[in-house]
Amino acid sequence: MDILLQQIVSGLATGGIYGSVALALVMIHEATGVVNYAQGEMAMFSTYLAWSMLNAGAPYWLAFFATLVIAFVGGLVIERVVIRPVEGGSILTIVIVCIGLLFILNSMAGWIYSYIQKPFPSPFSDKPLRIGNVYFGAHDVGALGVTLIMLFGLYAFFRFTTLGLAMRAAAQNPTSSRLCGIRVGWMLALGWGLAALVGAVAGMMVAPIVFLDPNMMSGILIYAFASATLGGFTSPGGAVLGGLIVGVIENLAGTYVRFIGTELKLTVALAVILVVLLVRPSGLFGRAAVHRV
C-alpha cells in the first residue's frame, strides 16, 4: 500500500512534467494548427542555459527565473525569425521547419556542452519527506508543486487578463481578432514564448531525475504526445490531466507489471496513443473536429 502511494506520487511528479510539455504542444497547436516537434529540444536547451548559470555560481532560483526569461524571449524570437516566414505555408512546411529546429538545437547543445550526461541539481532537499508511514521523494513533491503553481499562473493569465483573452481570441478566430484591433502575429509569437517558458520549467524539473544530456527530452516528448492525445489536442486542461494519468500509469506499469520494468516503459506511452486513437480519437476532453459539408 505504501509503495503504491509512493509510486503514485512519483508518477504524478513526472506526469506533471509530461503534462507541462503536452500543454506547451497544445498551446502552439491551438494557435497555429501545427505540432511543434522542437518543443522538447527548446526545453533541453533552456535547461543547459540554467546549468551554465548554476555552474558559474548563480543561486538556484536566480538561475531558474533568468532561464524562464531567456526561454520566453527565445521562443518569441524563434517564432518571429523562423516560423513567421512559413506561417502561411502548408502544414508540412511548418512541420519540417520544426523538425529542422529540433536537429539544430540538439546538435548545438551537443557541440557546446558535449553529449556526456551531466547531473543537474534539484532545489529541494535530498531527504525524503515522511508523511505518516510513507516516504515521498522531496524532488517529486517539489516538482509537482512547481508544475502546479505554473499551471495555475497560466490559467489565471489566460482567464483573467486582457492580453490572455486576446491570445485566446487570436487562436480561435484570427480574422475577427484583427477586426478587434488585435495584432494576431504578435499573439502567436507570445504563444511561442509562453510555450518555451513552460517547456523550460519542465526541463529544469525533469533534469534532476533523468540527468542532463542533449537527448534528455526525446523520450519525454513522446510521453507528452501520449498525454496530449489522451487529454485531447484541443484541450489545455485535458493535456495536463492526460500527463498526470500517463505519468501514473507509466510508473505503476513499470513497478507492478514485471515484464515492463524500466526498459519497456516508453512502450506504455505508445500503447496509450494507440488505444486513444482507436477508441476516442479526440481524447478525453477534446472537441471532435467537425467540418460542415
Binding site: 483573452l165 485566446r168 480574422t175 475577427s176 484583427r178 477586426l179 484591433g181
Partner: protein
Amino acid sequence: MALLEVRDLQAQYGPTEVLHGISFAVEEGGIATILGANGAGKTTTLRALCGMVRTRGEIRFDGRSITGRATEDVIRLGIAHVPEGRGTFVELTVEENLRLGAYGRASKGDLAEDLRRAYEYFPVLAERRRQTAGTLSGGEQQMLAVARGLMLNPRLLLLDEPSLGLAPMVVREIFRIVRSINRERHVSVLLVEQNATLALRLADRAYLMETGRVVMSGSADELRENDTVRRAYLGY
C-alpha cells in the same frame, strides 16, 4: 465635411479585380448605405476599407489617407467593422466577446461603463453575459456583433448585411438600435445591405452597386423614388 471619403477604389482577389474604381462618402454623423445584389462587391468594399483585400485608390478617414494600412491599424483609428457572418468568438462568453471589442481602442476609458451601455442597448446580451457566445441565436449573435463594434467607441461603424438570415422582427429591432446609436453616440454608419427597403428607410445617403461599380447615387429619398431601383430592388 465627409468623415470617410473614397475615391476610385479598386480591389482584387488574386488576379481577379472585383471593384473597378468606386467612389463614395460617409458624412460625419450620417448614415450611408450601399445597396446591391449578391456579388455586386458590397462586402469587398467594406473589406477594402479595412485592409483585408489588396486595394488601390484613395481612402481618406477624417482627412487622412488610410489606404493600404493593416486591418488592426484601421480599427484602432475608430472604425468598427461588423463583418459578414458576424465573426463571433463562439467559444468565448458574451462578455469576453464584448471586452475584445474594446481591445483596439485608443483610450482605454471606463470599460465597466461601456459594458453597461452596451447592455442597455441590447438587454438580451446582459441576460446571457456568462453564456458561451456560440450558444446564442443568430439574431442575438448579430446583436453581439454590433455591441462588440460599439465597444470600440467608434467614430464610424461598418455594418455588413446585419439582416442576413434573421427574422423580420429581429432585423427591425437591430435597425432601430443602430439608429439610436447613430443619434445618441454620434457614430457615423456605413451600411451594406441587400434589404433595400429597410436600408433606405434608415440611411440618408445611398449608393447602388452592380458588379463592382457604383451605378447610382443620391439621397435615400431619391433612390427610393427611382423607377429602376423600385422595380429591381424594392419589388413594387
